[in-house]
Symmetry: C2
Subunit: 499 residues, 2 copies
């Protein structure tokens, strides 16, 4: 074993002694924590997977998996031939240089924001017919809604009863605007475990979801003198509307297959961006470790902030989800998530992890906005997370959604052969590229709509217009049963085949 960081490898021994089924995760967590805390310094060369596995007495596969996972998340870097070493992207709570009161105004932005009529994910009822006289929607593939029939009514009801019978009277008074303490504790533990974030309950603010997190942050950044926020292209135009309500313009920033392109970001002049690095919306790519690191370098250089919208980070089907960007630099990344995809959007319950430098302003803004979230639902969610019911619910959704995704892929292969599907195996939607031979996009969409199938073209989410005749679609499948998914695609194929 390498002589570097001998003590650090010993840090991993308790993890290696964990029960077999938890060992791989424990190893990853211990390694991540060692990097984050600085006990494994940037540049430290890691032992070979074979050597470390032997030292720890675990299988080599577990070590390989841990290295891959942490490389994907940006904690480690690797190069074929040169081995694996600790990257410099991670910044622990004590190691960073948090910005305070940075009042410089962002300059030189050339906003390409486009206000559009398109309903972004989650922004409207999923069954609204398009235009007057449009045929009724029978199968709605537009993305944004989970399967509401999976909401665990019995378990939620039981938790409600338990909460109402034990909650002390003062807990029904005016709330702490940051949220109910037991929920902040429970969420901090859950997010640390599931998403690899740095989740201090003192930095966790319960809010009504990612939309409110955007608005809260928008007001705070606006008050600090920023005048624009960058959003991913393709991305969610809804962010533009939310930031506009706080007085901020939005600027589309181009993506490639690795994440946000670095040069246009630097040239844009913005000092804040919203990103979805774990499963980019809507393209479905996962940001590369290099781009994650580059984004944080940029944020530090411009004294800026990153809002990480972890909208579906819980759903990955082929491997463990990639940890959140926030874990790499909790002083530059505002992490936001919610129960909208895992339980129900109607609960309006979410969370944000806030850099120390912004915390007081975000909390005061939350206070003047609504004095804090309702306490009963917060206490119920705390109960739910603590009892393990939230993890069970995620497993249940994951099984259901994976089955639906498989049904979608099979149906596309059978009924629209030649269709390419992209995006990692995750989330609640895929990007499908239907070859031009099925008809020009306008005709394809019109025929589908006439057949009662609602589809949303990718171009509603960004500025790209490839013009190659292919039909690019963002297909949401999570809210549909496998048989409906199959029937819907068959219906489309029949409709576009008619002369």
């Amino acid at each position: 074993m390498s002589s570097h960081g001998q003590a650090a490898w010993e840090l991993l021994l308790p993890a290696a002694a964990a029960p077999a089924r938890r060992r791989g995760r424990a190893l990853q967590e211990a390694l991540r924590e060692a990097v984050r805390s600085g006990r494994l310094a940037a540049g430290t060369r890691l032992p070979s997977t074979r050597a470390l596995a032997a030292d720890l007495g675990v299988s080599r596969g577990l070590v390989t998996e841990a290295y891959e996972q942490l490389t994907a998340e940006g904690y480690l870097r690797s190069d074929r031939g040169a081995g694996t070493w600790v990257g410099d992207a991670a910044r622990g709570r004590t190691g960073g240089t948090p910005a305070r009161g940075g009042g410089t105004v962002a300059q030189g932005t050339d906003p390409v924001t486009r206000a559009r009529g398109a309903v972004a994910r989650g922004a409207g009822p999923a069954t609204r017919a398009r235009g007057s006289g449009a045929p009724a929607v029978r199968v709605d593939f537009r993305p944004g809604t989970p399967d509401l029939s999976l909401f665990p009514r019995a378990a939620w009801s039981a938790a409600q009863r338990a909460v109402l019978s034990r909650l002390p009277h003062p807990a029904l008074g005016y709330p702490d605007p940051r949220g109910v303490p037991e929920l902040r504790e429970a969420l901090a533990g859950m997010l640390t475990r599931r998403r690899g974030v740095v989740a201090d309950p003192e930095r966790l603010v319960v809010c009504s979801g990612v939309a409110q997190a955007s608005t809260l942050l928008g007001f705070v950044l606006r008050a600090r003198g920023l005048d624009a926020v960058g959003i991913e292209d393709p991305g969610s135009p809804e962010h533009g509307r939310l930031f506009a309500s706080t007085g901020l313009d939005t600027v589309w920033l181009p993506l490639d297959e690795e994440g946000l392109r670095t040069e246009p970001l630097a040239a844009s002049g913005v000092r804040a961006v919203v990103v979805t690095p774990s499963h980019q919306f809507p393209s479905g790519i996962i940001w590369s470790a290099e781009r994650r690191a580059a984004l944080l370098d940029w944020a530090r250089a411009v004294d800026g902030y990153v809002l990480e919208d972890d909208y579906d980070g819980d759903f990955r089907y082929d491997r463990a989800p990639v940890g959140a960007l926030q874990g790499l630099d909790p002083e530059r990344v505002v992490y936001a998530g919610s129960v909208s995809k895992s339980l129900a959007p109607g609960l309006r319950l979410g969370w944000m992890l806030v850099p120390e430098a912004l915390l007081a302003e975000v909390v005061e803004r939350k206070r003047t906005m609504d004095l804090g979230n309702p306490v009963l639902d917060q206490a119920v969610l705390a109960e739910f997370v603590t009892r393990g019911a939230y993890d069970r619910q995620l497993r249940r959704c994951q099984r259901a959604y994976r089955e639906r995704r498989d049904a979608l892929l099979s149906a596309l292969a059978e009924h629209l052969p030649g269709t390419g599907v992209s995006g990692i195996a995750a989330g609640l939607h895929v990007i499908a590229r239907v070859p031009g031979r099925y008809g020009p996009p306008e005709r394809f969409l019109a025929r589908s709509a006439e057949a009662g199938v609602a589809l949303r073209p990718l171009e509603e989410y960004g500025t790209a217009r490839p013009g190659d005749g292919d039909v690019r679609l963002v297909i949401g499948y999570a809210h549909l049963s496998p048989s409906v998914v199959t029937a819907g695609i068959r219906r489309v194929a029949e409709a576009v085949a008619r002369g």
Copy 2:
């Protein structure tokens, strides 16, 4: 009977035929509606109470009561000797001249807003000790909190179960930002009946309470070019903090014993005010009918708006509560209320009735702020109101609070004789003026605090500093049992009596 409006008197006949226990209220509602709709025109002379009672076949007392109630609310005017006639304050939905897009900037304001450290009603935990080393608070007379032990846990729990078992799946999706339709229906009916407002469910926006209503309206008015809002002096400094978060200054406007003084209001240059006409906070006066009418005249003249904070309109102990100002002109008054005093502040559930001209902007602002309130609590409250459980809860609170108020008055008379109590018989607090012979105010407050009794001086709520040596207190009693109220006042008396 007068020949004027013969048809209108006939309108009252169905009300006169109502069951005896509802007849008085039915008569008032019918009369109010007749004025509001214009079927009884401004200036119409009303028949004598004796004549109308004979025509309708009801007791004269009922008619007298109806005239008095509607005169207090500003619908009718009366003059000893000259009789009673229909006033010109009321403006129905169709009769008004709603302002649209009024972009003129308010001018000439001389803001006397004072940012203070005082915790306003409802703004903080009620048991926090003042300063370090302060003795523990044993009896906390600071106003703002209802008795949280009166929250109807069993009934709420039953309603939660009922809701979760019947709610259709789509109701768990992204909500209508205005609120759940069945709640808006239920609240519109309840508010029309209890508060005499014009409550069209289409104009009702569910929000998280009066604080959020202030913020929502503040943003909308700021976007229309206003730069300041008037607040009552004495009043709630918390409104100042809420409006400041929307970019608006606040201006203290002096009250006298009838309500907001008209000349300083006109001279202030503001075009929007927040008022508490049904039970002024904290003075406890009820605005006179003339001042209600004058305020609406002012609002129409300056193309302005009034936010009516109906924070405790449900609690009046000596007679039916005076109807809300909004009923007089729903196009100029934004009415806001919540369940914070009747159920629990922790529910964060309230409502606003919004003039047509502001509705779309308020709803869009609500949408970008949080996408709408959580749906389950909304559905539970709808169930609660529809089942009659909300009315039962109000009666229960009313009985409890009246008893506590009586205990407070007795204790003050016994232990601090000479203390004057003002404010109508309503609400959750009184104003007490303790004579200077009990010690100068600083000493009185310090001794009370040392004895573990938290008191809030009136001067924290406004600019007045009479300097006459008396101690003016805002005493909240609703959250304390009668025995605690009595013990607390005895404790104060003993503490200030010690040499």
